[in-house]
């Protein structure tokens, strides 16, 4: 069994060079003062203490709210779709999953621009509405437009893992439940839902992470006042040029995500224990 043990060596070296070293560089930036030359490092915690201000905490809060809302909406809308797809014949299933996947290959920026054209005050939807004699609606630069963009872009990441675990499910469980007199609602909550939980957790994790750190979609569809943690990091690196503070914020974000992930794994683990 030891034959394949060495197979991880190339990746081990590769990942140290291309993942760990950049991370160490980020750490170095986060704990040092700006304007340092490599040889005269002066360490500081200031980049972290600066973050403990109402404004920045508000940014974190808003990012989490948005991430959670987007994840819930993707789950509530995506689960039924994955469920319906999983009930089709195999060829229709793979066809429908393809249909869900294709949009991901079209440039995300382009799809977001298209939403801007659809939702803007004189946009396509409002033009259609005015033809029908309905007053135009303000949709751009609102929570609504940001949510549309996030859900449209990230929902496939929810649907695919849920579908995978539903499709894997042994049909005989459902038949057994029916035979034993469970009604459809009971069958769903007692049998189908628990069996699809690994997929749900995967999907939730993917969508939440993507939504939490996204900055292009909120910026384009929500306007500059849509300040999220991703935007904050981006602006520190690109417009402010304070790499130290930017590195510190990204480490904070990474820590928060790590905690979240531990929680999810714990859930997953408890779930397995139940089985």
């Amino acid at each position: 069994m030891k034959h394949f043990r060495h197979l991880i060596k190339p990746y081990l070296i590769w990942s140290v060079v291309i993942i760990v070293i950049p991370l160490i560089l980020t750490f170095l930036y986060a704990f040092t003062t700006p304007g340092n030359e490599v040889l005269t490092l002066s360490f500081t915690l200031e980049n972290f203490t600066r973050f403990a201000e109402a404004t920045y905490l508000h940014v974190i809060l808003k990012s989490f709210q948005l991430g959670i809302a987007a994840t819930l909406i993707c789950l509530v809308l995506g689960y039924p779709l994955a469920y319906i797809i999983s009930k089709q014949s195999e060829s229709i299933q793979s066809f429908l999953i393809l249909l869900v996947t294709i949009p991901m290959w079209i440039n995300m920026l382009l799809r977001t621009y298209a939403w801007m054209n659809l939702l803007s005050d004189n946009g396509i939807i409002n033009n259609l509405l005015s033809m029908l004699g309905i007053n135009p609606l303000t949709m751009m630069y609102t929570d609504f437009s940001v949510m549309i963009g996030l859900v449209c872009n990230f929902m496939p990441f929810m649907i695919i893992p849920i579908h995978t675990s539903l499709a894997k499910m042994d049909r005989s469980f459902i038949e057994a439940a029916n035979d034993l007199g469970a009604d459809p609602v009971q069958t769903f909550w007692k049998v189908i839902w628990p069996l699809s939980l690994p997929g749900v957790l995967n999907g939730v994790m993917m969508v939440f992470l993507l939504a939490l750190s996204s900055f292009v979609i909120p910026k384009l569809l929500g306007g500059g006042q849509y300040m999220l943690i991703g935007n904050l990091i981006e602006s520190q690196f690109i417009s402010v040029g304070d790499w130290n503070f930017g590195s510190a914020i990204s480490l904070i974000l990474a820590m928060l995500i790590l905690i979240f992930l531990r929680l999810m794994r714990r859930l997953d683990y408890l779930d397995r224990q139940d089985d």
């Binding site: 069994m1 034959h3 394949f4 043990r5 197979l7 060596k9 190339p10 990746y11 590769w14 990942s15 140290v16 291309i18 993942i19 760990v20 560089l25 404004t55 508000h58 779709l81 319906i84 429908l96 869900v100 294709i102 290959w105 440039n107 995300m108 382009l110 977001t112 621009y113 801007m116 054209n117 803007s120 005050d121 004189n122 946009g123 449209c152 929902m155 496939p156 995978t164 992470l209 750190s213 900055f215 384009l220 306007g223 500059g224 006042q225 991703g230 904050l232 990091i233 602006s235 690196f237 690109i238 417009s239 402010v240 790499w243 590195s247 990204s250 974000l253 990474a254 995500i257 992930l261």
Partner: protein, 615 residues
């Protein structure tokens, strides 16, 4: 009956979801056939954007880069990821957990963090940024996705399978390829698909790690934000068509195989041919990219040049121009300070001052710039570069308020910048999403200098902006303002005069106001970097850009005011006749130009601006 109803409901739901996913794509496709530039009103069927696509070598190169990087990154990361996933189940617990933890980092970290990390890494390793670094970065972020999709499949295999195979006489390699890989092929396929998708769609990482003119589709699209151009719609329509064709082929071939009986040898031959074609293709392109002995690297803002001028310059001098674009001066500075080398930069006034101070530039030799006589007096001897020792003007203008004459009361115009606080227009305006420009507005409205370092004045400007945010509910928009104002979405916007000229020429209901309290008079200029290796050629380029015919072509294409007198006069009298923004009014003594900011002061502004937006 009940069942029918249920299945109808299911179908309806699937249809609704698919409409939601495909609506933006459909819009993209429909407007690729629009005869006008508008992306919201369909004025007639035409193929003009497809014609432009054919002629646009920049886009076809980007397609090539996107596709080949995606294919190579997918192949390499799939092999690497699968091999690692198999190895992981057999390795010691400590090593396994460690590697899985490391593997999670790229998936969890925001793109921007990884991008910056990789950029620093490549710079410190002395790797020249370009195709190769982009490929390395793509492999770096694709492999973790392959591992996460393959590893669970390997874990669910019976660990004794490989042993059994080897007991039966298979070599370890055979056990791997004949037993394990076929059992986990779903996972491998899913991982490869994910890797391809991620690579093909990536923007942030590619932007930071590539260079030397190597761009993928996303970078091109991002640089187009300024003036969204339906050419890119034509491109994505083609991408969709290609994907659909590939899908049809891959779905039809297995059926054909069953019917006709294509055997393994044929399949292998096909795969081999595909690989050879890819390699040849890559090699050929590498040669094409390296043609021409002398090269000039130019770094300019996006959508800020008539691209045909570059070809013309190449023809006249026989050199190759590598042209790259940035989104903001700060982004340019980030790339420059990370060690990227360019010959010519085209930044703005305050950035030039900073670059001079930090010794990034070398002085110009004005004897080599023969067309210097044609430059307007107004643009010479600026505060940021006294005597034009380092810079030659490129475009110039002011910042002002673009307003809808059908909505905004003429009497209100006297208010100048305070028009932006007139509650009649609440919820009906765009501010420019830029810290310096917004503070300029507030400082000027209060009668202070826009280069102030006085904390009390800065604080007052902050209060002005916070109050305005509360009472007016403005939208802080970036370059999307241009498209929005062309379609007349709001009554007012803070814009650059050059953008105003373009917008007014597309929507004549608008006019441009230069507030009486004074404004920002800005200049963008061409400078030579310290590391410029083709000094003679670089001077030729500068001279070329201010030659009358070229200056006319450039200002016609971009819409910004030319610093070349003949071109400026011609445009003001013909193309932009009656459009006041093309003729910047800089007679007001209260007007100023941005000066270099001390990092500490810049920090203060940046923090306050973040607070205003995050309120």
């Amino acid at each position: 009956m009940k069942k029918n109803k249920k299945s109808f409901f299911s179908r309806f739901y699937v249809a609704i979801c698919l409409v939601f996913f495909y609506l933006p794509i459909l819009v993209t496709m429909i407007f690729s056939f629009n005869s006008s530039k508008s992306l919201t009103r369909f004025s007639g069927f035409s193929l003009r954007w497809y014609q432009e696509l054919l002629h646009n070598t920049e886009i076809s190169k980007a397609v090539y880069v996107s596709v080949t990087v995606a294919i190579l990154a997918t192949i390499i990361s799939t092999v690497l990821g699968t091999v690692t996933a198999i190895g992981l189940t057999r390795s010691r617990k400590f090593l396994r957990e460690l590697l899985l933890e490391i593997n999670n980092i790229p998936i969890l970290n925001p793109d921007i963090v990884m991008a910056i990390g990789l950029m620093i890494l490549f710079s410190s390793m002395g790797l020249e940024k370009g195709y190769f670094t982009m490929l390395l970065a793509h492999i770096a972020f694709c492999t973790p996705y392959v591992i996460t999709s393959v590893y669970p499949k390997v874990r669910s295999l019976d660990p004794n399978l490989a042993n059994a195979a080897m007991d039966l006489g298979a070599t370890p390699f055979q056990a791997l390829t004949k037993v394990i890989v076929p059992m986990i092929k779903d996972g491998i396929f899913a991982g490869a698909l994910l890797a391809f998708t991620m690579s093909f769609d990536d923007f942030v990482i590619s932007y930071f790690v590539s260079g030397n003119g190597v761009k993928n589709i996303s970078i091109i699209v991002y640089n187009m934000t300024k003036r969204i151009n339906p050419t890119i719609n034509a491109l994505s329509t083609l991408v969709i068509v290609v994907i659909v064709v590939i899908l049809v082929i891959t779905n039809v071939i297995p059926r054909l195989r069953k019917r006709v009986g294509i055997n393994k040898t044929v399949r292998r031959t096909l795969t081999a041919i595909l690989c050879v074609v890819t390699v040849v293709f890559l090699y050929a392109w590498g040669n094409v990219a390296n043609q021409g002995s002398r090269t000039l690297k130019v770094y300019n803002a996006g959508e800020y040049i008539d691209l045909s001028l570059l070809e013309k310059f190449e023809e006249e001098t026989g050199c190759t121009v590598i042209y790259e674009t940035f989104e903001s001066n700060e982004m340019m500075y980030t790339k420059l300070s990370s060690g990227e080398v360019y010959d010519i930069l085209i930044p703005s006034d305050y950035m030039i001052e900073r670059l001079i101070k930090e010794e990034y530039l070398q002085p110009l030799d004005w004897d080599q710039i023969t067309h210097a006589d044609g430059l307007m007096e107004e643009v010479l001897d600026p505060t940021y570069d006294p005597g034009n020792r380092y810079s030659c003007p490129y475009f110039w203008g002011t910042v002002g308020i673009l307003y809808d004459t059908t909505v905004v009361d003429e009497k209100d115009l006297e208010q100048g910048w305070d028009l932006l606080k007139n509650e009649k227009y609440k919820g009906n305006l765009y501010m420019y999403d830029s810290e310096r420009d917004s503070f300029m507005v507030a400082l000027k409205a209060l009668g202070y200098s826009m280069n102030t370092t006085d904390m009390k004045e800065i604080r007052a400007a902050y209060d002005w902006l916070v109050e305005q945010r509360g009472s007016m509910e403005p939208i802080y928009a970036g370059d999307d303002v241009i498209d929005n104002m062309v379609s007349g979405n709001k009554a007012m916007a803070v814009v650059y005069s050059g953008d105003a000229s373009y917008i007014i020429s597309e929507n004549p209901d608008l006019d441009y106001l230069t507030p009486s309290q004074g404004t920002n008079v800005w200049y963008d200029a061409m400078v030579l970097t310290r590391d410029c290796s083709e000094v003679g050629l670089a001077h030729q380029f500068i001279d070329f850009m201010i030659r009358e015919d070229n200056a006319v072509a450039n200002t016609q294409e971009v819409g910004y005011s030319s610093p070349v007198k003949a071109a400026f006069d011609m445009m003001a009298a013909e193309d932009y006749e009656g459009i006041s923004s093309y003729v910047p009014d800089i007679s007001n003594p209260a007007d100023e130009t941005f000066a270099y900011q001390d990092p500490k002061i810049k920090q203060v502004y940046a923090e306050l601006w973040t607070k205003i937006k995050a309120e």
